[in-house]
């Protein structure tokens, strides 16, 4: 009994091409830019998807921050609280009782994620004014920064100011 070892050249080329494509896609560490929209999902009545254009219709604020390296930056965007409110997250007067055992996960395009408790965001509690920014010094955020990012003006370090923000997931620990 003999094993067939011959592969027709054309098939071989196809196999090689397919293999290279697969290898290239498997090894690529991160795709290019982040989506131009923000998805709020999880324990919300209904998943909310906001396009960057939608953000221009919401209440807007600015935040002048000094970056960790001393760079002065003016960000503009929508307060995170406003977005959470529109998604049905209890963030105003309804933030009490079991709702205080809940948090949001802000996720970036590259998989980076950080957590904020609702208590630190609520106006009756921590009252942290965190911004979902779409502009930096008057220009749309681009490249590794945008199109959307969080800005936490009271944080000393920048690690929670998630760049390339794509998703906010709301999690209730007690329902």
């Amino acid at each position: 009994m003999t094993f067939m070892t011959y592969t027709r050249p054309f098939t071989g080329i196809l196999l090689l091409a397919g293999l290279s494509l697969w290898l290239a896609s498997a090894q690529t560490t991160a795709p290019t830019t982040a989506a131009a929209e923000l998805t709020i999902r999880g324990d919300v009545p209904e998943t909310l998807v906001l396009k960057t254009a939608d953000l221009t219709q919401l209440p807007r604020e600015t935040a002048a921050v000094t970056d960790q390296d001393g760079t002065q930056i003016n960000y503009e965007g929508v307060p995170l609280r406003e977005i959470l409110k529109r998604a049905g997250v209890p963030i105003g007067k309804d933030l009490r009782g079991k709702s205080l055992a809940s948090y949001i996960v802000a996720k970036a395009h590259d998989g980076y994620q950080v957590v904020f408790s609702l208590g630190e965001l609520g106006t009756d509690f921590g009252n942290e004014s965190i911004l979902v920014a779409d502009k930096r010094d008057g220009k749309p955020l681009f490249g590794y920064q945008g199109p959307l990012r969080l800005v936490c003006p009271n944080d000393k370090a920048g690690a929670r100011s998630v760049r390339m923000l794509e998703t906010i997931e709301f999690v209730r620990l007690q329902k």
């Binding site: 290898l23 690529t28 560490t29 991160a30 390296d69 001393g70 760079t71 002065q72 490249g143 390339m164």
Partner: protein, 343 residues
């Protein structure tokens, strides 16, 4: 806090930093309160920087190891002093050195350029310029007509301006004036010129700042480096890293703590394409080699920074990252006549 007071805001005015030089929001360098910037001191510093009479045998000047066209590095793996003695480490770039919170590769005690200048001038382990107290260097300056003019202009209130302190103040002032903020990347990122860099460089930038590669975690901020300090920004806690390049004491030399062995500061990546070879010991010849080093996770040792854990890199990613790094080259600073040899 002491440092904050010492580096109280001082005007960095004059010819060095104009609106064209610094992008909006870019911080101004810090200047020690006892050595404010003046045009005259910068000019004197430039003459001294390029003068080989500042060495024991007239063979070397600061510029021997810090060549402008190489972003003020020397192209060698490790620096070579006036007497031929080799330094265990490579010459560091001086571009944007005004922002460095700590000078040299790993000495946490040297935080001003005035202090640092004394190391190459008088250091014996290794000998760099090889000057010694009382060797006639100051009297040479005093007897030179050009220097008499320059020193009197730079230090008009001093009865005897020819002092080592004034030499280091002038050299430090010149070094502080070498600011780079006009690279294609700056024009793209700060200036809003979308076509200033290629699409490949833009993809590389995203990779550089990605969670997977995390290059920015050590080479961060506007200067793509470790700790910076600027006019209104204190240095913070100094950071040194073991990046998996083996065989040198690093921070341990100064702290004697075994946990500090092999730790060095993260230098700026601005102009990195012209400052080969790379790492503190010049052991990697190319940027491609540097990417391979980090992708492979470096040499394992107990002090290795957990961030040096390796990552996957496609040929396209590799090429994009290198294009991004090349976009940090500021051709203007490499050819700016204000920083060139005045002799």
């Amino acid at each position: 806090m002491y440092r904050l007071i010492l580096f109280a805001s001082a005007a960095f005015a004059g010819i060095w930093l104009t609106a064209q030089d610094l992008p909006k929001g870019f911080p101004k360098p810090r200047v020690p309160a006892d050595n404010p910037m003046t045009t005259e001191k910068v000019e004197l510093g430039r003459y001294l920087f390029y003068d080989t009479r500042m060495s024991v045998n007239g063979k070397s000047s600061c510029a021997t190891c810090h060549k402008q066209e190489l972003a003020f590095t020397d192209g060698l793996a490790v620096a070579v002093g006036a007497t031929g003695e080799t330094n265990p480490r490579g010459a560091m770039s001086l571009v944007n050195v005004a922002y460095s919170a700590v000078l040299t590769w790993s000495n946490p005690g040297i935080t001003t350029l005035e202090q640092q200048a004394l190391v190459p001038m008088f250091g014996e382990h290794p000998v760099e310029l090889g000057l010694r107290a009382g060797d006639g260097f100051l009297s040479m300056l005093g007897s030179d007509a050009k220097y008499r003019e320059l020193f009197e202009r730079a230090f008009p209130a001093d009865r005897d301006p020819f002092t080592i302190g004034n030499v280091t103040k002038a050299i430090a002032s010149f070094e502080r004036s070498i600011v780079s903020a006009r690279s294609p990347y700056d024009r793209y990122h700060y200036g809003g010129e979308d076509n200033a860099v290629s699409d490949s460089a833009k993809r590389g930038e995203i990779l550089f700042f990605s969670r997977q590669l995390s290059c920015f975690r050590c080479h961060g901020g506007f200067n793509f480096s470790g700790n910076t300090a600027s006019e209104r920004h204190a240095a913070g806690e100094l950071e040194f890293h073991n990046n998996g390049v083996s065989g040198a004491p690093g921070l341990f030399e100064f702290t004697k703590d075994p946990k500090d062995a092999g730790k060095f500061k993260a230098p700026t990546l601005r102009n990195i394409a012209v400052t080969a070879p790379y790492m503190h010991d010049g052991s990697i010849a190319t940027l491609d080699g540097v990417l391979s080093h980090y992708a492979g996770g470096g040499h394992n040792n107990p002090n290795k920074d957990p961030l040096i854990a390796g990552f996957a890199l496609s040929p396209q990613d590799r090429s994009d990252l290198i294009e991004f790094l090349k976009s940090l080259t500021d051709e203007a600073v490499l050819h700016d006549r204000r920083f060139a040899n005045p002799w």
